[in-house]
C-alpha cells in the first residue's frame, strides 16, 4: 500500500515535471537564442547555450543598427503602445466601475437587459466591426493615430470592465448602500467614499486584464494603424516578417522577449491575484 502511494507520487511529479519542460522550453529557447551571435546559432542548435552572454541582439532590437534606416527597431513602438494602453485602460476601467456600480446597486428598469447586452458584446468576433470602425476613424480624422486606437480599445474594453465590476459589486451587501442612503449620501458620494475603498481587488484584476489585452493586441493595431504610429506587437511582427535575405534570429528573439516583458513582469508579480479574479468571473460566467 505504501509502495503504491510512493509510486503514484513519483509518477505525479514526473508528469508535472514534463509539463514544466513543455511550457518553459520556448522561453528558454528565446532567451538563449537572443544571447547568441548568428554564428553560434548557425553552428549550434535550439538548446545549445551561448559561448558568452552577448546583449548585442538586444541593443539592435531596441534601438536599431544606427546605419541605414530600413530596419525596424522597437523603441518608438514601445512608446506608442504605452501612449495607447495607459489612457485606454484608465478610461475603460473607470467607466466599467461606475457602470457596474450603477447597474447593481441602483435598480432601474432595463438594468439587467443593459448588462446582458454588454456581456454579449464581449463575445463578438471583432471582424464584424473592423470595416465600419475603419470608416468611422477615417471620418473622424483619427485613423492611424494613438487617439484612434485609444478610442477603439476603450470602446471594446468597456464590456469586459463593466462585467468584472458588476460581478464584484453584486456580492457586496445591498444593505450598506441602503444605510448610506438613509444617512443622506448621494450616488457619487456613496461610490467614492464607500464602494471604491473596498474595490481594490477587482481594480487590480481589471487593470491587469486591460493592460494585457491592449498591450498584446495585434488585430486592431494592424488594421487601424501603420508605419510610425503602429503599436508594439505590429512592429514586432513586421520586424520578424522582413523578407530580407538574412534573418537575424537573435534579434527577432530579443525583440519578442522585450515585447512580452511588461505583461510577463506584471504576471509574475500579481499573477495569482489576476487568475483568482479571472477564474471567479469565468466559472460563474
Amino acid at each position: 500500500m505504501l509502495n503504491k502511494k510512493r509510486l503514484s507520487r513519483v509518477f505525479l511529479f514526473l508528469v508535472l515535471g514534463l509539463f514544466v519542460f513543455y511550457y518553459i522550453t520556448p522561453l528558454y529557447v528565446m532567451i538563449v537564442t537572443s544571447l547568441k551571435t548568428m554564428n553560434e546559432i548557425r553552428d549550434g542548435n535550439l538548446f545549445s547555450l551561448p559561448n558568452a552572454i552577448n546583449f548585442d541582439a538586444w541593443k539592435i532590437a531596441w534601438s536599431g543598427r544606427g546605419e541605414g534606416t530600413s530596419d525596424t527597431y522597437l523603441k518608438p513602438y514601445f512608446l506608442n503602445s504605452l501612449k495607447i494602453t495607459i489612457p485606454a485602460l484608465l478610461i475603460s476601467t473607470f467607466l466599467g466601475a461606475i457602470n457596474g456600480y450603477a447597474l447593481t446597486k441602483w435598480k432601474f428598469k432595463g438594468a439587467n437587459l443593459i448588462f446582458l447586452l454588454f456581456l454579449f458584446g464581449t463575445f463578438i468576433p471583432y471582424q464584424a466591426i473592423l470595416l465600419p470602425m475603419a470608416r468611422t476613424l477615417g471620418f473622424l480624422g483619427i485613423s492611424n493615430s494613438p487617439i484612434g486606437l485609444i478610442l477603439v480599445h476603450t470602446v471594446y474594453g468597456l464590456g469586459f470592465t463593466t462585467l468584472f465590476f458588476r460581478n464584484y459589486y453584486v456580492s457586496i451587501s445591498d444593505e450598506i448602500i441602503k444605510a448610506a442612503k438613509v444617512d443622506g449620501a448621494g450616488f457619487f458620494k456613496i461610490f467614492f467614499t464607500i464602494l471604491l475603498p473596498v474595490s481594490l481587488p477587482i481594480l487590480v484584476v481589471t487593470i491587469i486584464f486591460q493592460f494585457t489585452q491592449i498591450w498584446n493586441d495585434f488585430l486592431f493595431g494592424v488594421t487601424f494603424s501603420f508605419g510610425e504610429h503602429a503599436p508594439l506587437q505590429v512592429a514586432l511582427n513586421n520586424m520578424v516578417l522582413t523578407s530580407a535575405s538574412v534573418k537575424y534570429y537573435n534579434v527577432d528573439m530579443a525583440a519578442a522577449i522585450m515585447a512580452g516583458l511588461p505583461t510577463l513582469i506584471i504576471y509574475i508579480l500579481a499573477g495569482n491575484y489576476f487568475i483568482k479574479g479571472l477564474t471567479a468571473g469565468s466559472v460563474k460566467g
Binding site: I176, D183, G184
Partner: protein
C-alpha cells in the same frame, strides 16, 4: 417622536403582489412590531416606510405629512439593518458620524452627540477599529449607535437580533426595551420571532402573505387572536385546535369533537356566542390554559368558568422547569404545559380542566374567530 400612519399601501414586485393593502396607525412613542413568517412582506413594509422601496399605491404619513415622495434621508428616520451594514472601509467613529456629516452638522454638535452615544452604548474603546475587527455583538451596537446619534423621529429595525447567538439576543432585546423606555421615540421593529415581538411591542401587526392578520396589543393578540393564523403563530407551543362542530338545542350549546363517539360534548353556553347548529368549528385553547387538578381550575379561572374533558396522556417532554404532555382527546392531539413538579402517568386515562374564558372558537371555513 412622531405618529406613523399607513393608508392602503400596495406594492408589487414584477407580477407578485407583495403588499396587499396595508392599513395601520400608531402614536407618539409607540413600539410597533411587524411580526410574521418569511416572505409575508414585513421587511418590504419597513423598507417602504423608510423610503428605500417605493409603493405602487397608498400613502405613508409621518406626523400626518405624506412622505411617499421623500428620500430616506429627508424623512428623519434611522434604520438598523439585519446585517448591520457598517461601512467596511471606515472605522467605528467614522461610521457613526457619517450621516451627521452628510447633513453638514457642525463639528461641535457632532462631537457632542458622538460622545453621549458612545458612553451610552459603552463602545469607547472601539472607536478607531474597523468593522472587520469587531465581534457580532459589537457591530450590532455600532449599528445602533449610528441610528441613535441621528436623534430621528422614528427608529426602524429590520430583524437586528437575528444574527446574534441566543444569550446575546436576549441581552440586546432588553437593551432595546430600555432604550425605548428612556428615549420614548416611536419605533417600528421587524421580526419573525414571536417572543421578541411580544416582549418588545406596545402594538403588534401580525402579517401573512402581504396582509395584516391582526393589529392589536400583545395581550389581545395572545388572548383573543382574530384568526387561526395569529393563534397558531404566537405562543410556544402554539394553540391547540380541536376540529369539531356545534350542537345546539333549547337548553344546551356544545362543542363536539369530530371523532367523539359518546355524547359528551363541551358545554359552551357560558360563552354567549352566536353560532348556528351544526357549524364546523375549531376549538382553540392554549397549552398554558389547561389544568391538571380541579382545585387549580377553581382557583385560577374567573367565575369558575371551566370545563372538564377526558383524555389519555401519550407523550411526555421535559424542558427543565416545565413539561409538555401530549394528550389524546377522542382521536385528536392536545398539548398541555405544566410545571415539572407534577407527576403524570402515561397511558392512564385522566381528566383535564379547561379555562373557558381563554377558549377561542374559530369558524373552519373563514378561519376567523367567532
Amino acid at each position: 417622536m412622531a405618529t406613523l400612519e399607513i393608508k392602503n399601501l400596495e406594492k408589487r414586485f414584477k407580477q407578485t403582489e407583495v403588499l396587499k393593502g396595508i392599513n395601520l396607525k400608531i402614536n407618539h412613542g409607540d413600539f410597533l412590531v411587524l411580526l410574521g413568517p418569511s416572505g409575508c412582506g414585513k421587511s418590504t413594509l419597513l423598507n417602504t416606510i423608510a423610503g428605500l422601496e417605493s409603493s405602487d399605491n397608498g400613502e405613508v404619513l409621518i406626523n400626518s405629512e405624506k412622505v411617499n415622495d421623500m428620500e430616506p434621508s429627508e424623512r428623519d428616520i434611522a434604520f438598523v439593518f439585519q446585517s448591520y451594514a457598517l461601512y467596511p472601509a471606515m472605522n467605528v467613529e467614522e461610521n457613526i458620524v457619517f450621516g451627521l456629516k452628510q447633513r453638514k452638522i457642525s463639528k461641535e454638535k457632532i462631537n457632542q452627540s458622538l460622545n453621549s452615544i458612545v458612553e451610552l452604548l459603552k463602545i469607547t474603546e472601539l472607536l478607531k477599529r474597523k468593522p472587520a475587527q469587531l465581534s457580532g455583538g459589537q457591530r450590532q451596537r455600532v449599528a445602533m449607535g449610528r441610528a441613535l446619534v441621528r436623534d430621528p423621529k422614528i427608529f426602524l429595525f429590520d430583524e437586528p437580533l437575528s444574527n446574534l447567538d441566543a444569550k446575546l439576543r436576549i441581552e440586546m432585546r432588553r437593551e432595546i426595551k430600555k432604550l425605548h423606555k428612556n428615549l420614548k421615540t416611536t419605533m417600528v421593529y421587524v421580526t419573525h420571532d414571536q417572543t421578541e415581538a411580544m416582549s418588545l411591542g406596545t402594538k403588534i401587526a401580525i402579517m401573512n402573505d402581504g396582509k395584516i392578520e391582526q393589529f392589536d396589543t400583545p395581550e389581545n393578540i395572545y388572548n383573543k387572536p382574530d384568526t387561526i393564523f395569529v393563534a397558531d403563530f404566537v405562543g410556544s407551543p402554539s394553540m391547540n385546535f380541536i376540529s369539531g362542530h356545534i350542537k345546539k338545542n333549547e337548553n344546551s350549546f356544545s362543542f363536539f369533537n369530530e371523532y367523539e363517539k359518546n355524547n359528551k360534548g363541551i358545554n359552551l353556553s357560558k360563552l354567549n356566542l352566536e353560532i348556528e347548529e351544526g357549524k364546523k368549528v375549531f376549538f382553540g385553547i392554549r397549552p398554558e390554559h389547561i389544568f391538571l387538578k380541579k382545585e387549580h381550575a377553581v382557583r385560577v379561572t374567573k367565575d369558575h368558568n371551566f370545563v372538564e374533558i377526558e383524555v389519555n396522556p401519550e407523550l411526555h417532554e421535559y424542558i427543565g422547569h416545565e413539561q409538555i404532555i401530549t394528550f389524546n382527546y377522542c382521536g385528536q392531539e392536545i398539548l398541555g404545559k405544566f410545571s415539572s413538579s407534577v407527576n403524570i402517568n402515561i397511558d392512564k386515562k385522566m381528566n383535564l380542566f379547561i379555562d373557558l374564558n381563554s377558549v377561542s372558537i374559530f369558524d373552519q371555513d373563514t378561519k376567523r374567530r367567532i
